[in-house]
């Protein structure tokens, strides 16, 4: 057991701290893709604080894949109000997919502008009748000369209104078994025939959209992997998505805010944190979070020490993390009582309404990214070796 990163990393940490100090007054303005945002993103790449291990020829920093350095960058950036590197599904999901499965041309064309924040991507996976059972998706694409013609409907498409491109799963081999009939295409969002309708959520925001696709034509070369291999290609990226949900380090920041809130809010003049039942709930959540933090250290260690196996430890992160976060936000609402129900721009609103917003948002994340019931199937089947549910005849 050794939780030290080692003295060889002290210089690197000092470099990161120095960079942050020199740039701590950076303020970004304007919408996504605006000049100042792209410039900042490029500066982070040039200094190796973003896209660190992505090859230079594709617009990355071209550094070594040193997990500890990535950890140090994340730790130091988290401590400062300095703008963080841009995220999004293009960076988290598409870039890793293209790096491992894209053609040389696709890598050249898309990775650099995606990293720089010039191309934003949305994900065209779920359909109205294909949610948890994603592989049953029906949106189809047919080759017509040198173009794919796409018809169908997608739903839960995050940030489609901001995106220039969509990585989309479509059925191209209707006669093949369902997992083998899917292809992974790259669809420009300005193509003719795309009708986008925002979905208003329970939070009041509209982060998601429905996409109606009618005879949308895109070049035949806009396919990643071979025809019918889209399911394999998509599974490579779903792994990236699940890993990024409900990081215990972020939850720790929320716990600290909750402790402050419970020290400040009073009932009949008594601090909420001094009420034993509230305090016990707080401490139970802290205990669970500490266990998840230890689990995260084990996962980090397995990335550095390849001989360590952390398969089960990784499978449970999304399930455990989203449930805990939802409960944490819910305790804050209970600690405020009636005040906790205030929303939008109400008088007496606390913290801009972030507790209710996040409480609901995390209920969304319990459902999104593979519902937590699907997560339990995955844990039981892939980690515990239990059999799949048998098919029901006629379904």
């Amino acid at each position: 057991m050794d939780l030290e990163y080692g003295p060889q990393y002290d210089d690197f940490r000092a470099e990161v701290i120095n960079f942050i100090k020199e740039n701590e007054n950076t303020k970004l303005s304007g919408p996504p893709r605006s000049e100042s945002r792209v410039e900042w993103q490029q500066k982070l790449i040039d200094n190796g604080y973003f896209a660190r291990s992505i090859p230079k020829e594709y617009g990355g920093y071209g550094g070594d894949m040193d997990i500890i350095k990535l950890r140090i960058i994340a730790e130091e950036f988290a401590k400062s109000p300095i703008p963080k590197p841009a995220g999004g599904q293009g960076i988290q999901m598409l870039v890793p997919t293209l790096l491992s499965l894209g053609t040389e041309e696709q890598k050249q064309e898309y990775i650099r502008p995606t990293l720089r924040g010039e191309i934003l991507w949305c994900q065209g996976y779920s359909e109205p009748n294909s949610g948890s059972d994603l592989a049953s998706l029906q949106t189809k694409a047919e080759l017509d000369g040198d173009e794919w013609v796409i018809n169908g409907q997608k739903i839960w498409t995050s940030t489609a209104h901001l995106s220039q491109m969509c990585f989309i799963l479509v059925r191209t081999e209707p006669d093949a078994p369902k997992h083998q009939g899917i292809s992974y295409l790259l669809m420009p969002m300005d193509a003719e025939g795309i009708d986008r309708r925002p979905i208003k959520q329970m939070t009041g925001d509209s982060d998601f959209n429905e996409l109606f696709l009618t005879d949308v034509r895109i070049p035949a070369g806009n396919i990643v992997g071979a025809r019918g291999e889209g399911w394999k290609v998509a599974n490579a990226t779903l792994g990236h998505e699940r890993g990024s949900l409900a990081d215990p380090n972020v939850t720790q920041n929320r716990l600290n805010s909750l402790i402050d809130l419970m020290k400040n809010e009073t009932i009949d003049g008594q601090r909420v944190i001094d009420k034993p039942i509230f305090r016990d709930r707080l401490l139970s959540i802290q205990g669970r979070l500490m266990a998840q933090h230890s689990n995260a250290l084990r996962i980090l260690s397995s990335q550095i020490n390849k001989e360590q196996d952390a398969t089960l430890a990784k499978f449970i992160v999304k399930l455990q993390g989203t449930e805990l976060r939802h409960e944490l936000e819910g305790l804050a609402i209970d600690a405020m009582g009636e005040l906790g129900t205030l929303y939008e721009d109400s008088p007496h609103l606390r913290d801009n309404g972030v507790w209710q917003m996040t409480y609901m948002y995390y209920l969304g994340l319990i459902i999104g990214g593979g519902t937590n019931q699907i997560q339990k199937n995955i844990i039981s089947e892939r980690a515990l070796g239990m059999p799949k549910e048998p098919k029901v005849q006629g379904a």
């Binding site: 057991m1 050794d2 939780l3 030290e4 990163y5 080692g6 500890i68 402790i259 020290k263 601090r271 944190i273 001094d274 034993p276 305090r279 016990d280 707080l282 401490l283 139970s284 802290q286 205990g287 669970r288 500490m290 266990a291 998840q292 933090h293 230890s294 689990n295 250290l297 084990r298 980090l300 260690s301 550095i304 020490n305 360590q308 089960l312 430890a313 449970i316 399930l319 455990q320 019931q373 997560q375 339990k376 199937n377 844990i379 039981s380 089947e381 980690a383 515990l384 070796g385 239990m386 059999p387 799949k388 549910e389 048998p390």
Partner: protein, 362 residues
Amino acid sequence: MYFGLSEEQKSLEENINRFLADNAPLDTIKAVAEGDTDKAREVHRGIIDLGLSGLVVPEEYGGLELNMLFATVVSAALGSGTAPVPYVGSYVMAPLAINLGGEENQKNQWLPKIAGGECVIGVGLSEYVGAREDAGIEFVNGKLSGRCLFIVDGKDADAYLLANKSGELYIVDSSNSGIEVIELTTVDKTRTSIELILKDVDAELLPGSTDKSVIEKVLDAGRLMLAADTVGAAQVMLDKSVAYSLERKQFGRLIGSFQAVKHMCAEMAADLEPCHSMIWHAAHCLDNVPEESRLMACQTKAHISEVGKQVSKTATEVHGGMGFTDELGLHYWFKRIGLNRQLLGSPELIREEAGRIQGFDQ
């Protein structure tokens, strides 16, 4: 950076697992639970031969001088085998207390004997943690009087290590006059428990223990050991559940193919998997990060007691009616987890302490 067990720690774990599989199978556990003291002594002798009695005793007193991470690995392995042996009190808390709080002559008197497996020391901290029935002890003119409940590893002990309400620790030779021993029967028959009634019994203070940090360290270690014991026991209950679900058929299917059963197992796994990391992490803090060790030990004991309770219930349910029988013996693990939960503080009591440690009180 390496978070996990070393090769040496893994091989220690394997040795204990192998020893228990060969020498303390379920039949032996049942025999001990029904009062076969000879079998209990054999298993006890075996773990002494493995070096476990001297694990945390400093080398200069004949021990192996290994750290809390090693002790945690051992405790989890003993929990997984529901091993009917003294350990947490006699071989972890007692030597730690004597080494931290004792004078040189006290160390010389007790530590080599502990390491050599020549003495068992029962540890009574219940009245410091939270006195029941107004129990407690007082030390007046070198004599100890009062009552202590739930002495860990106290049965047939050669000495007792007892705490008063302010956390001072006293060592008492069990052959001294004025001691009445009352055997307690808990649900967990893989371990023993006693009550002591003392009337003017000769006792020695461990002088260092007037500094409260001594009992705190002993308590932290004891709680971590109990948490580790629960993790080991709960993992076996999960493993047995999955295995049973892949044998038992109903409605023409393995019950492990029903989503209801799969989800019960997945929930157990999701709750339990981080607990392995948590006991290693807590042990690391006890060994190396003193400013985090108290909170970590408290929260580890409290959290793992909750997970253990849930896993032991769910695993019994997965086994259906068989889970309720004595024949299958799953209840030994259930009861072991149940006793661990209450010893040295129930989760609610420990969380109160965790709040105070963080300065939540104004």
